[in-house]
């Protein structure tokens, strides 16, 4: 805890999605920082074993675990009561269904913000978003993708329900908070990895009918280790003078796609992969997109040039703003982070 923080250790802090992959680490980081008055919101169903493990490891502080559904306005009112900071991590990860992703990201965020506005004592709302909201169509390869880049104006064309929902969620947050005077910060992590998040990310490649197509090549992957990411999120809710700001989260020493794939094969398991040259990857995505459009969806538009641009064009990334404005630095280095990740993958 820092004396500069906008809250003190008695202030009530709400974490939605507290039992999730990042949420548990956010709770852990807050506890490590000395914040004890935590309200952890979890879905009405589901196990809370990951969260309980963290709580036990931290000496069982008396934090409040709430079961609730953000689609219920009553539940939102209940969990936001007396809260000073909200870390909003709960999101719809309906990979294929746009309505599901939208309902569980945008509608839930609207409900939460409305409830927060009614409490009238919120000092900061931290919306956890994603790199996927950016459009890099106007960027060239190797250009830096940072917080100044524009959001995708037509996210529905990306073929990814999650991307669409996250863009609309961020827009809603900015609009609602602006109109209602709620101080907010948006945090956009890159590719979050660590024990608990299985497999290789799509930016490296895709598994097609049992064959792994390596599409990332020499691109740097915007990795952030889950503990580092959680720390950035926590700081975004505590540090003064950053209201209305957006922070991208990536670690230092980012590996290339090829380097990470080789490490994965060496430390986790061997499998066959085929390197797809960039031009061929673009051509495949373009052809798929055209066929999908011509056939009116006989094949879904999951591969398209927008997705290629976002996932495989190959930009560079910056965490400068995160370091200078929030004082963040990645506590876990890439070698240590990857070792932990690979060990966990091997154990599965």
């Amino acid at each position: 805890m820092s004396t500069d923080d906008i809250i003190n250790d008695n202030d009530r802090v709400l974490i939605t999605g507290a039992n999730g992959f990042i949420g548990t680490r956010v709770v852990d980081t807050l506890l490590r920082y000395g914040y004890r008055n935590l309200v952890c919101l979890m879905r009405p169903s589901g196990q809370n074993s990951a969260l309980m493990k963290i709580i036990l490891e931290r000496g069982s502080p008396p934090i409040e675990i709430c079961r609730g559904n953000l689609l219920s306005r009553e539940d939102c009112d209940k969990v936001t009561e007396g809260v000073s900071v909200i870390y909003h991590l709960a999101a719809g990860r309906g990979v294929k269904s746009y309505p599901d992703a939208f309902l569980n990201s945008v509608v839930t965020t609207r409900n939460l913000l409305e409830a927060a506005a009614r409490t009238n004592r919120l000092k900061r709302f931290v919306g956890v978003s994603s790199f996927s909201v950016y459009s890099n169509l106007k960027l060239r390869r190797r250009d830096v993708l940072d917080e100044t880049c524009e959001m995708d104006r037509e996210p529905e064309l990306r073929g990814e329900a999650y991307c669409y929902a996250k863009v609309r969620q961020d827009e809603l947050t900015v609009d609602f908070c602006g109109r209602n005077g709620i101080p907010y910060v948006l945090v956009r992590p890159g590719t979050v990895f660590g024990p608990g998040n299985r497999g290789l990310p799509g930016r490296i490649g895709i598994d097609l009918l049992g064959l792994f197509l390596h599409l990332g090549g020499s691109n740097r992957i915007p990795f952030t280790y889950v503990d580092n990411c959680a720390e950035a999120i926590v700081l975004a809710g505590l540090r003064p003078g950053v209201g209305g700001e957006v922070f991208n989260v990536v670690d230092d020493d980012l590996p290339t796609s090829r380097e990470f794939l080789n490490l994965y094969k060496k430390h986790v398991r061997r499998f066959r992969s085929i390197r797809v040259p960039r031009a061929a990857g673009y051509l495949l995505c373009s052809l798929w997109e055209k066929y999908s459009s011509w056939s009116r969806g006989q094949l879904p538009p999951v591969f398209n040039t927008r997705r290629w641009s976002n996932d495989w064009k190959g930009n560079r990334y910056s965490n400068e703003k995160l370091k200078t404005r929030l004082g963040w630095k990645p506590r876990v280095s890439f070698p240590v982070a990857s070792k932990r990740f690979f060990e966990h993958e091997r154990g599965l």
Partner: protein
């Protein structure tokens, strides 16, 4: 003349309706509505539909649709259906048609009284394989009316996470249906039987229970295993199986006549004719496997042909059904699914739920 279409309910299944409607010439989606306006807005934005509203009254008033697709949870089907019919719209209802057979009959009576068409999205009866099966039965392949049918409609919870999401949320709309999970899922499989069973009051014997999979998750209310025997007045019989644990997760229909039988697999889109005659002696061991292999190969070719002709979308049956429904409206022909079948499906489902005591 372009048929003006409105959609009520902007959840997951509404996307499928929009996709299929847009593949049909001569119709246009003029508006969508959902009581959660954000949901209506996202659907209209993604599909470039002009009007979005947060209630049906506004949709009807502002866009004057001729057909309404109701894609809301089943609890609201009856009320919204009545409202749409009252406004002079034809109605395509997502399955299950209604919550009870009484509601089903009332809606159909109301539609008939108004000279309007109504149908239910039993799209799986309009897939390529289902249509081929129907044609073969009509041509007499079975050698008379069906003697016995087996309808399998299995369900895959996917993983524990999904099951927990559904089961843990006590307010989930599926849990609030009188027949819970079953009510939202079995109508496709029951409708296949309703199409071929004779008589209006078949005898229904049902047994339902909770699988060990759900019990291990702490669930003892939701029934996810169902076995049903149905017998009509003329002694045609049918078995219906719903299972969340059986593998493969069959969605199949088998119909046996006095001469031959037909086996249809929905997921594979295969239709296999099974001869009733037997070959002599050892020939029965050698020739039929070759004949089946030939039929499966032929099915693969047919499926590939449809794919290459760009007519093998995942929801191709829905397109066929909607297309047929719109044609019935334009040409004032009977709706594609006979009302008798819709009522019978509801009645059988009522009987099932009564016996397994939800």
């Amino acid at each position: 003349m372009t048929l003006r279409v409105g959609i009520v309910g902007c959840g997951k299944i509404a996307d499928e309706h929009v996709f299929q409607i847009r593949r049909i010439p001569g119709c246009a989606i003029v508006g969508v509505c959902d009581r959660e306006e954000l949901m209506a807005r996202q659907l209209s934005e993604r599909f470039k539909i002009n009007g979005y509203y947060d209630n049906l009254d506004n949709l009807l008033e502002k866009t004057a649709p001729q057909v309404i697709h109701i894609t809301t949870p089943p609890q609201s089907h009856y009320e919204l259906g009545m409202q749409a019919l009252e406004a002079g719209c034809h109605v395509l209802m997502e399955k299950p048609f209604t919550i009870t057979a009484e509601e089903t009959k009332a809606l159909i009576r109301h539609a008939e009284g108004k000279g309007l068409k109504i149908t239910v999205d039993h799209d799986e009866q309009f897939t390529h394989a289902a249509i081929r099966m129907r044609e073969m039965i009509q041509k007499g392949y079975l050698g008379g009316p069906p003697v016995h049918m087996e309808s399998y409609y299995c369900y895959d919870f996917g993983n524990q996470q999904y099951a927990r999401a559904l089961l843990g949320d006590r307010t989930h709309w599926i849990r609030e249906l009188p027949g819970s999970l079953l009510q939202n899922n079995i109508s496709h499989g029951i409708a296949r039987i309703s199409e071929y069973i004779r008589g209006e009051q078949p005898e229904v014997i049902a047994q339902g229970f909770t699988s060990t999979f759900l019990k291990d998750l702490g669930e003892d209310e939701v029934i996810d295993e169902l076995r049903v025997m149905i017998r009509d007045g003329r002694s045609s019989t049918a078995y219906f199986t719903f299972s969340s644990r059986m593998r493969p997760t069959l969605r199949a229909f088998r119909v046996y006549g006095e001469r031959n039988a037909l086996f249809m697999d929905h997921d594979q889109q295969t239709l296999i004719g099974v001869r009733g005659d037997r070959f002599k002696s050892y020939l029965e061991k050698f020739i039929p496997p070759y004949l089946y292999a030939k039929q499966y190969l032929s099915n693969a070719h047919v499926n590939m042909k449809y794919f290459l002709k760009n007519d093998f979308h995942m929801k191709s049956g829905m397109k066929k059904l909607i297309e047929s429904f719109y044609r019935s409206i334009r040409e004032n022909q009977p709706a594609p699914i006979p009302y008798r079948e819709i009522i019978l499906t509801s009645r059988i489902m009522d009987d099932i739920f009564r016996q397994i005591k939800y």
